[in-house]
Symmetry: C2
Subunit: 456 residues, 2 copies
């Protein structure tokens, strides 16, 4: 197999190249009098390479008609400065080989397609400018996640996907079984000998590792069996959950802010071409907004203060604003978009609306929880300091009607060498939507799973 | 919260430090006449820091008895050159704070525990030398996986965990459901409207992305509902699956060999302390074996040649050796351990024992498959060139009794701009076992899932 030059590398050439071989897919072909232009793309970058097929290539008339949108080609030629507008280099072909044909039934002909149509074509859509860009950015963002934590000496932990415990006692769970769910069967004969589920969070498992290795994080798939069809919910999504021993809520908020900013900066640096595309075609003003966010600290706002701001805003909201109630998406957006005009970190939420494991504050009313809220998205990070006092945690479990026996391993972390520790979760797709301006979560996941949809 | 110095950083100090604060867990305490030694570990590295608690610290007699194995401490003091053997630095404490007590019921007292006992203590075992080391190496290995592909401009793809298609039509699958598997229910009322499963491989989905972005890889959890209780099988494990467009079997074998060697070299470089520990206490000769493997190319052996070697070996095997049959673990180990004395890549396997998607060779008998086999483990990589010819692939699907309709999206990759492409899978835990010498897969997974076991 001939060594190919990736189109990304060809486009970054610093001087003409005598003999280059590229391979890729035809986006378009335009015929001129004595030659044809082909826009060839190999997915290594957003831009394609302009290929000139001279009419005097052997048998030109026989094969030129087969060079159609979607076909795959191998082209050898000279990389020369382009005379045309819009590109610096073009390839003057000296030999062409058609690798795989396409035809008029190819679904991604050069025109705008609806997002719904593209979701039906999830196996082909990464060949388009929009989705190719989304998934290149997604890949670099995942790499940046690992780099951020690696640079800070966090250990990456693979917490289990299949679990017999239900973190937070909340959320609707998928059951995992080897019984036939249409016929039913004895649950003690099931694969794990008891009911098991897909995880909703790796936090509790990550805590066990933080209480041994100090600083750890997870980055893996999590699941919700919620039957909700919104643009922001998927049944399967990836989550990042750092967990730090010897760290309080202040340190947790510091890390979350540094993390969000690192991911923004890295994406602006590493995916400049794609980000310019999103700014132009998906969300005008995206780049300006992200740069604005990078430049200033996230305001830190106590929950009670946030509620006071909402109460005094004179704004009409669909959902009630009241001390003790959860902030709704519209409230979060008002705070970030209208009031603070940037991301904020809200902390010290009412105990009654938060899970059992969050550390009780001395006021008896609130817990050491924090959420990072960003414009356009709302909550992008949710975290807390964890309750490290055995007796307090036990009474919290009882208050939430959870079994002390089921959580005895979790309580062991407080029985033996308990330490203050904190962590948070970030929805990876939420962050990707925030960075790209893409508004439907289905369009930033390779093959999205939502109620009724598990195709491919 | 006071800024702490990680013990790893303290141990790497280049000169004494006036005032240092460390936090961690007590491994042991030894009392001398006027002071106590504490071995303090924070998991940032294998070694602990020797802390000297002088007897003239305030109230020494009152609290020294509480500094027990498993307790957590904050210690301030001077980092000074150690007079004792075995460490360069020690901490002369000027202030001590007990963060969390422990007591005699702490399961990880200083003595050897059986692997079975430690598996029951999976929430505490990362605090031990062995498991702390395993999971630090695991983390660095995962980072190395991402770095290897990032350096080669591969895009990381999150292929779906929940799937309605059964890659390879093989293996036993976990069902994912929101029906109650003990009572049964209408499968069309299930969450996704049809039976869905946990993935056994991301390959087919990765192929769709390779046919758009050229070079991609997956790294995520995969599942097998096999009811087998061996030291090498887990129900949930992580797999790495690169997929390359414009790449044939030769390129695939090149990448696999480079990948295995990169992971060995990186682990030797990044985890030197842990590797010395494994070499001394887990698998004597480990380091020598890994270095030997690094130095030489993997021999490439056609399947027929491998079978001839086995047939002519005079060796007695439990399972039959015969052209056309699969190589068993004992055969693989004979080849790598006795005959070639190193890793080998076996290629061109009989078509009849391989899945439908592997590319048919011109001989009509074999497919362009390859396995990398390593001493002690057997198969560590399995891959192939994929069948890119539409008609051949269709006839293969028929031959395997698979539905052309179910795979129509997969066939589309051959209908529109088909290209030669190749890939492989590596079991992450297998690689980790190979690198650490740990022989039971349950001991390299944070919380292992096996038949009957889904605790924590």
């Amino acid at each position: 197999m001939i060594n190919r030059t990736r189109i990304r590398d060809a486009l970054k050439a610093t001087e003409p190249m005598e003999s280059v071989t590229v391979m890729g897919w035809v986006r378009t072909r335009r015929d001129a009098k004595d030659f044809s232009f082909v826009d060839l793309n190999d997915g290594s970058c957003l831009s394609g390479l302009q290929v000139i097929l001279p009419g005097d290539l052997p048998d030109y008339d026989r094969w030129i008609g087969e060079i159609t949108t979607g076909a795959s080609l191998q082209v050898q030629g000279h990389l020369v400065a382009s005379q045309g507008k819009g590109q610096r280099w073009e390839l003057q072909a000296s030999a062409v080989q058609l690798m795989g044909r396409s035809d008029a039934s190819y679904p991604l002909q050069k025109k705008r397609h609806s997002p719904e149509f593209m979701r039906e074509m999830a196996h082909l859509r990464p060949r388009s400018n929009l989705f190719g860009s989304v998934f290149r950015v997604r890949s670099r963002l995942a790499q940046a996640v690992h780099r951020f934590f690696s640079e800070r000496d966090f250990f990456y932990i693979h917490t289990p996907i299949i679990t017999a415990s239900d973190c937070e006692g909340a959320g609707e769970l998928f059951r995992v079984t080897t019984l036939d769910p249409s016929r039913g069967g004895d649950p003690t004969k099931d694969f794990f000998g008891k009911p098991s589920y897909l995880t909703v969070s790796g936090q509790l498992a990550a805590e066990t590792f933080a209480c041994a290795l100090s600083n750890v994080y997870t980055f893996g798939p999590t699941f919700r069996a919620e039957n909700s069809n919104t643009s922001r919910h998927a049944s399967e999504f990836w989550m990042i959950e750092p967990e730090m021993a010897f760290c309080d809520l202040g340190g947790d908020m510091d890390l979350a802010e540094a993390f969000v900013k690192y991911l923004i900066q890295d994406t602006l640096d590493q995916s400049a071409e794609e980000m310019a595309f999103f700014d132009a075609f998906v969300d005008k003003g995206l780049l300006e907004r992200l740069r604005w966010i990078l430049e200033r600290p996230f305001e830190r706002v106590a929950y009670t203060q946030a509620v006071d701001i909402l109460l005094q805003s004179g704004q009409r909201f669909e959902y009630p604003v009241q001390h003790g109630l959860n902030l709704q998406s519209e409230h979060e957006r008002f705070l970030t978009e209208s009031h603070f005009k940037g991301p904020i970190t809200v902390y010290d939420y009412p105990k009654a609306i938060k899970p059992f494991y969050m550390r009780a504050n001395d006021d008896g009313q609130t817990v050491a929880a924090m959420d990072v809220l960003v414009p356009g998205i709302g909550e992008i990070v949710g975290g807390s300091q964890r309750e490290e006092r055995l007796e307090v945690l036990e009474s919290q479990l009882r208050a939430h009607d959870l079994s002390l026996e089921d959580y005895s391993w979790y309580l062991d972390l407080r029985r033996y060498g308990s330490v203050p520790h904190s962590g948070f979760g970030m929805g990876f797709e939420r962050m990707l939507m925030f960075l790209t301006g893409v508004t439907n979560i289905r369009d930033v996941i390779p093959f999205a799973r939502t109620p009724g949809h598990a195709s491919f």
